[in-house]
Structures are given as structure tokens and as C-alpha cells.
Symmetry: C2
Subunit: 403 residues, 2 copies
């Protein structure tokens, strides 16, 4: 069944029923004095909650803290800061994370066990708790507060990333906010994404649905290997829509998954488009692969190749870099079967380079969205990955960060 | 036994007995009109030969050609061009490679089966044979010709990379030339390395010695994933030193391996230092790992991290990026055991950041050689990797290549 999924104008993480949020500026971002840098998200009803965390062996204190706290699959609030990642901070880092959660619980009137913590910023510095304590104590929450919360998470992001979607006839809403990721937003604690829904959802189903949605969205943007110490995707479902809890056998299971996929893909693409120094979004679809895993590997390899990224930045139709990236991705590739498209124009057919009008391809590459289609013609599987171009500005931003 | 290995002043690939080379400018490099772009290397005696090739599934025609030709482990000459990679060129590419070999054989007076071919340059364009044919026919070889051959291989390389080493008392010499690699010299056909020796060497031993030397040299420089379609490391041993052929049980086996290691590491470091847009060499040593494979993975991950590379370019002592790269490399890492050194100065001891004088670390980072030492304190294995910093110049070079 194809669900009618509708994006809500100005939708955000507080669009689902019963969620409130707030943010404050407490001075954690040295380079931006009055920027929002601390926020709280809270649900008026307890939530079923699931999360995915960074695979980095060096895990920030908030990650370790949330992994423990989420074992039971329940939460009701989240406190988040930018400007300091609370990563590589040892025992003190864990104590600081716990204190943040405790203070937020006190402010909202919850049990400390119901509060999660996230941080993003420089690695290896302790949290300035003297700034955070008064900030939490004075925090004001509202149902419009999602728009502030998303700004309090930003580091080198240039635009806030927020969305909410309603499924026609289902009665529930899924909202979300995210901040930058991967190579794109490197050791600023990389990617954070928080999702809310007022749907009632069975915990096991929520965990599986989140995993599936993340696999085709955040796991398909150009993270280039620099996986952060602080990556986290969290979903909280408070059940206030009043539906029967969704489980794998529910009539609504498929619609919920589709809506969650759409929301995650929207946020993932927003992150890719807003990469550090990026001027455009690159969408790579690999089809005709022998399996989905193979198609994913090839699409991700192409979209994160520095050579493909610099060529697209320079509007250079240097397509050899695209097939070379596919070739070294490790999947099966047969030169004589490859078709390659840029912006819908076929440049290679069954391994043979076609003559093309360079000027018109350069014009296609100058657009804000560049699509690459690689048909392997070996099977029936396909996958799409998203990334951004690589400019001098990326180097400038990343060579002048702590100094 | 520690061999006394001596680098020969002005040594090159024609330093071992019986090797001659020559080069010509035939107009293959559109952007550099009179640059050398075609070369021949020849041995007066037949050689035992071994080679390692790119793992890219899209293999250039010269790679496919050499893989077939080297199955017997014998060769006597090599013809190489820059400016065009002869990659993604189908059946015509294979015919062109065979014709190049045939013409070179005719010029030198060898059987065509004894000649190998290598190409480097743009992917997806056919070899301009009308330029190559007269170039080969008029080629003049000499024992000083190694210095010209190495220039004929250059693409965006800024300096030629050549070396020769003599082992005291062994009577033999190993010489070599190389051109740029990996992310560093991306789709200019990436890395080529040719090695010669006048030692007599058993084929199986030569193959194994080359594999070992490459594993700790070329495989440890920052290739960043953009493995080329044309990568190739070749060694030819003509036996004119008159020694008894070296086999694994020979008294000289150890010395030969050490000398080959030294030559390969010298050339690999030269490639890393001359990376596109690079201003310095980065050397990363990971020690205290649970195994050599683990140490290698961590060292390579750190040295190829865009965040580490940009930080070092900006002389930024942002050490959090180094431990984060180690953490996401996939190997075992325990935060509370990590010691970290930059330029010999300890910044982290047993997981605790130490106070340090930022100004003095910035001075260390400004040097042309930057060393990073990461002690995992989990085992006894170690490995070293080499790379270069990432500058705006890299983006400029790679966004303006074919257009």
C-alpha cells in the first residue's frame, strides 16, 4: 500500500502531540557569542525510545550514558548542547553527563532515569558545567520550541534541518531535527538526529523500523570514514495519537515505516546538502547490481570519492573518476556492461564512451542538485547515496578549527 | 644480520648493471608541450620479473596486458607513457598496448613477448598511437637514461622520484623510479613504480620479497581509497651481478629483502611528500597494538583522515581528530590506555589530556616532516604509515583537470 505522506509546513520535532522544547545561549560556542547552544526536548507522556549510536571505539560520554539508559527502551526527555562534545573526557565526562540529565529532570519534573543526554563540539575538552547549570535551571519549554532546539544543536551547519510528516488517515505525526555529519561535519561531534512521534509503537518494532530507516538515509550520506565519537539517532514515541501500538503485524506498520523513511531521507539529504564548504547536493543511484549491499557499497564509494567530489565542484565532466570509484569499491563490475548517466544524459553505454556536448554537461553540473546514475547491468538491485562537492572552503574550515 | 645498505648518489633505475633507458617528448601531455611523456627501459640480459597490480575491478589495458605477460615471470624491457591512462578503452586499448610492446621490441631488438607496457593519465581516452609510433622508433637508450625515464612518467608530480641502493659486500644494486599515488595523484593513473636489480634472484623469492616490501611501503602511504585503474609495481632482476640466484634459504635472502624494503620505503615516502597540493610529509606510527594488521589499519586510517590532514595543514594541534580516527578504524582501542605524541611531545598519557604549550606544538607542526606517535598499550605490534597534508591547492588541482 502506498501511503499518502504529507510534509507539514514549518514542521519540526515538536509537531507531534505532547512534545515541547526550549533552548538557551549559555556561552559554549566561543566563536559565536549569543548563539543558542543548549536545549531540552520533553514529552508530557512517557515514551518508548530507540536509538542508534556511533560505531567509533572512542565513544563520547553522552553516548556511553545513553546506551546504558536506553536498555529498557524508555525515555521522556533529552538535554543537548553544542560547542563541546564531552568526548575523550573519562570518568569526569560521565559524571558531567549524568549531572546534566539530573538537572534537566529537576527542571521538567521527571525522574532522572527518564532523561537522555547528547553533546556536539570539540573533542578532548571538559564540559563547562558552570555555564550549563544555570542554563538548564532557567530553560523554558514550549510546543514551538523545536525551532529553537534545532538551532542549539548547530555547529558549522549553515541552516537548521527540521521536518515533520503526517500520514493521511493514520492520525499520527513523525517529527525530526538533525545536525551535520561525517566528513561533512567532522569532529564537531558529527551527526545528531532526534525524531519524535505521537504514534503508539511497540518497542521491538520501533527499534527495527529505526534501523531500516537509518540504513537507507543517514547510512547513505557521505560520511567518508570520519565517523564521529558522538553520532546518535534517537526516536521517541509517546503514543498520544491514541492508536493501538504498532507492531510488525499491524495494519499501520508499513505506513509508519514509509513515513519514518521519508523523514529520515529528508533530514539526511539536508545534512549532505549543507556540508562544510559544499555548493551542491550529489545524488548517486547505482542500479543493476547483484545485490542491495553491493549497490550500496558502490553508491557510497562514488559519492564519497574526493576525486568525484572535486570534479563536480569544478563542473568537470571527468566521468572516468566515477567508473574508477565503482571499480575500486570491491563489488563486481564489468566494464563492457556499464551505462553511466550524469543529469540524465548517457555518457557511457555498454562500456563505450559516447560523444557528448561538454558545454551542456557542464551546465548540468552547475545546478544545485547533480544526479549520477550508474547501471551495472548485472542484476536487479539498486541503492541511492547522497553527498556534496568538495571545495577549497572545506579545507579552510577544517584547517582553522581549534586555533 | 644488519646489512650495510648505502644509497648511491644520483642513483636511479639504470644504476644496476646492464639496464639502459631513454625518453622522448611526443605531445601526449596537452598541458605541457615539450615535457617528456614516453620512455623505454631495457635490460641487456633477460630478467626474472615480478609485479603487483591494482585491485580496482576496472583495470587499464596495460594492467591486463602485463598480468598475462608476466605469468611466466620473465621480461627484458618496459615501455611507459604519461598523459593517457589507456583505461576504460576496451578491445582497442588492449590492441594499442600490444602494438606499443611490439614497436618497442622492434626498436630494442627483442622478442615482443619480453616487453611490458605501462600508462598513466586521463581515463577513458584512447592512446594517440600516431604520436607514440614515431616516438618509439626514434628512442635512444643509455645507462644514464633512468633520469629521463622517471620524468617521462610524471603527471602532477612536482619532483622525480628515483633511488638506487648498494648492499656492502653483496655485489648487487637495486634501483627504482616511481610516480605519484592514491588520493594524492588520483586519476592520473596513480602509482607506478619500476625497480631493477642486477642480482640473480629466484622467481618465487622475488615475488615474495616484492610483496613483503610493498606491504610496508607503498601499501602504507595514504591512498585514501581512490585506488587507480593503472597501479603497478614491477621488479626486474637480470642477474648480471653474477651471484648465485637468491632463494629463501640463501645467505643473501635477508639482505636482499632489507635493501628492497629500504628502496621501496624511500620511493613511497617521496610519493607521499609530493602529494598534490601537499606542503609536508606526515609519518604516523601506531605501537602497542594487538597485532601488526591492527597497527597498520590504525596508522593508515589516521594518515588518510581528511580531518587530520587539514588540521596538520593548518598547524592546528587538534589532537582529538587523531584519537577519533583511531577509534573509528575498527581496531581495539581503550581510551584510558592511549598515549599520544606529536613531534615527540606527549599530549595524552593513559587517556588523560596533558597541558601543553600550544605555541611550541604549532612550531612542530610547521616543519616539513610531522611525526605522530600513538601508543595503544594493548600489545607489542607496531606499524608506520606515511601521508601528506590536505590543502586548498589539492581541490584546485582536482577540480580543474579535464576542462
Amino acid at each position: 500500500m502506498e501511503a499518502k505522506i504529507e510534509f507539514i509546513p514549518e514542521g519540526t520535532i515538536t509537531s507531534p502531540r505532547g512534545f515541547r522544547a526550549g533552548a538557551a545561549s549559555v556561552g559554549l560556542k566561543k566563536e559565536a557569542e549569543h548563539a543558542l547552544d543548549l536545549g531540552i526536548l520533553s514529552s508530557e507522556a512517557p515514551c518508548v525510545a530507540a536509538a542508534l549510536f556511533t560505531t567509533n571505539r572512542i565513544k563520547a560520554a553522552p553516548i556511553v550514558f545513553c546506551q546504558q539508559r536506553l536498555q529498557g527502551g524508555r525515555a521522556a526527555a533529552l538535554v543537548v548542547n553544542s560547542g563541546c562534545a564531552n568526548a575523550f573526557t573519562g570518568e569526569q565526562g560521565l559524571r558531567d553527563a549524568a549531572e546534566m540529565a539530573g538537572l534537566a529532570a529537576e527542571r521538567i519534573g521527571l525522574s532522572p532515569e527518564d532523561v537522555l543526554v547528547a553533546s556536539t563540539g570539540v573533542i578532548g575538552e571538559k564540559l563547562p558545567m558552570q555555564l550549563i547549570r544555570p542554563g538548564i535551571e532557567q530553560m523554558v519549554l514550549s510546543t514551538e520550541g523545536g525551532h529553537s532546539l534545532v538551532r542549539a544543536m548547530m555547529t558549522t551547519d549553515t541552516v537548521p534541518k527540521e521536518v515533520a510528516a503526517r500520514v493521511d488517515g493514520s492520525g499520527f505525526i513523525i517529527g525530526g531535527v538533525a545536525k551535520g555529519s561525517g566528513m561533512i561535519h567532522p569532529d564537531l561531534a558529527t551527526m545528531l538526529c532526534f525524531l519524535t512521534t505521537d504514534a503508539a509503537v511497540d518497542l521491538d518494532f520501533l527499534r527495527s523500523a529505526l534501523r531500516k530507516a537509518v540504513d537507507i538515509s543517514f547510512n547513505m550520506i557521505s560520511v567518508d570514514g570520519d565517523t564521529s565519537t558522538n553520532d546518535m539517532v534517537l526516536i521517541m514515541a509517546n503514543g498520544l495519537a491514541g492508536n493501538r501500538p504498532i507492531s510488525p503485524d499491524s495494519r499501520q506498520a508499513g505506513i509508519f515505516q514509509q513515513a519514518l523513511d521519508r523523514v529520515c531521507i529528508y533530514l539526511a539529504k539536508s545534512i549532505a546538502r549543507d556540508g562544510e564548504g559544499a555548493s551542491k547536493l550529489i545524488e548517486v543511484t547505482v542500479s543493476g547490481a547483484t545485490g542491495v549491499a553491493e549497490a550500496k557499497v558502490a553508491a557510497r564509494t562514488i559519492v564519497s570519492s574526493p576525486l568525484v567530489k572535486t570534479a563536480i565542484y569544478g563542473n568537470d565532466p571527468n566521468w572516468g573518476r566515477i567508473v574508477a570509484a565503482a571499480g575500486r569499491s570491491g563489488i563486481e563490475v564489468v566494464e563492457s556492461k556499464i551505462d553511466l548517466y550524469i543529469g540524465g544524459v548517457c555518457l557511457v553505454k555498454e562500456g563505450n564512451p559516447l560523444p557528448f556536448d561538454k558545454g551542456s554537461i557542464v551546465e548540468l553540473l552547475k545546478k544545485s542538485d547533480v544526479s549520477i546514475g550508474l547501471h551495472l547491468n548485472l542484476g536487479t538491485a539498486s541503492a541511492t547515496a547522497w553527498g556534496c562537492d568538495l571545495s577549497e572552503e572545506y579545507v579552510v574550515i577544517n584547517s582553522q578549527y581549534t586555533t
